[in-house]
């Protein structure tokens, strides 16, 4: 027998005791006259009864309850003991973030501020050398035009002690004659050095020209 489609939901709610009081009167009147719904209602009630009877939960014994309670209390105490102070929770994260930002900023800052070797090399050229250089023609143009021989690069490699040697040279009457060969070579190629990014590049250029000429 089929249940009346209109009352399907009402029937289920009724057997579960959830039918609103306002709908109960109409449902009871229908049930009195409909054998199919009555039968279905009885079957569902039997199903619920069976479920309640067969699926009972084995109760915990008092000892089991006590053991579980003790375990829970112990776990609670252990959690409290392990708990970090509250301030760490809000303080630690921003502190870590700040450290990371500083580290990243520091890393890139240092990377961008690596020394410009050409600038340093030019800064290290003493004032006297610069003055003497002004008196000379633009050697770079002449080297480029091939009118003068470039200074061998091998003599430029030892640029350490440049300042000291140049300062010593500044006190003499014939400054150019007293300038040590290393400084003189640098001086003669000063124009080129200014155009180069660093001393090594100048050395490479002069090496090439040296090779060509030899």
């Amino acid at each position: 027998m089929n249940v009346c489609a209109l009352y399907k939901e009402t029937l289920v709610l009724d057997v579960h005791g959830e039918l609103p009081p306002a709908e109960r009167g109409a449902w009871q009147r229908h049930l009195a006259n409909c054998a199919a719904c009555r039968q279905q209602s009885e079957q569902l009630r039997a199903l619920i009864r069976n479920a309640q009877e067969t699926m009972r939960v084995p109760a915990l014994t008092l000892e089991e309850v006590q053991v579980l309670s003790d375990r829970a209390q112990r776990a609670l105490r252990a959690a409290k003991a392990d708990a970090r102070p509250a301030w760490i929770a809000w303080w630690l994260a921003p502190a870590c973030a700040t450290c990371m930002v500083l580290l990243v900023a520091g890393w890139f800052g240092l990377k961008n501020s690596t020394p410009d070797t050409a600038a340093i090399a030019i800064e290290r050229v003493p004032a006297e050398v610069i003055r003497l250089n002004k008196e000379l023609p633009a050697n770079s143009d002449r080297v480029a035009a091939g009118t003068i021989e470039p200074v061998p690069a091998s003599s430029l490699r030892a640029d350490a002690g440049l300042t000291r040697d140049a300062d010593q040279a500044a006190g003499t009457s014939d400054a150019r004659a007293d300038i040590p060969p290393v400084d003189r070579e640098l001086l003669e190629n000063f124009g080129l050095l200014q155009e180069m990014e660093d001393v090594e590049e100048l050395v490479r250029l002069l090496d090439k020209q040296e090779l060509k000429t030899s």
Partner: protein, 193 residues
Amino acid sequence: MQDDLIVKVREQDREALDALFSRHMQQAYAVSFHLCSGDREQARDLAQEALLKAVRTIDTFKGEASFSTWLYRIIYTTYLDRRRQAGRWAAVFSPWRWVKQKGDFSSDTPEEPPDSAAKHDPLQALQGQHLEKELRRALQALPDKQRIVFQLKVLHDMSIKEIAHILNCADGTVKSHLFRATQQLQKALRDWE
């Protein structure tokens, strides 16, 4: 009375804590037992964990529902967390089949029926055991929400409102789950009518 107990628990009174555990452990275990499909060990762990969570977060209990309903909601969310976790582990270790998959409980030997009266009539006891087995199987075959709604309604006698609060959904949704679960179970157990 319950309010006093909760106030004392909030003040970290040990005796009150003991009383709260004793009062709710049994019921928490019963709900957990059905959620865990009859696995006693899992049910004990779940009930204990949920009670611990409840005590730790008792300051968030506003008294809108009863403490029991609030506790059952915690049991339900803890159960979902555990299942998700078990699902993840099952996915990782599926080739080795280390972790029990959902539904494995139904294949376990069912718990002994607590009803000792049934043992006086062997036929009735046998029928009861078979019916219980069939019921478990039919319940396991239901979608999770339908199964839980049916269990909370029929086996724990909760109202639709309470269940809606526990599952955090609308009353209508609970009614719909209950309707479908009842229909499905009736279909599955037609032979027992």
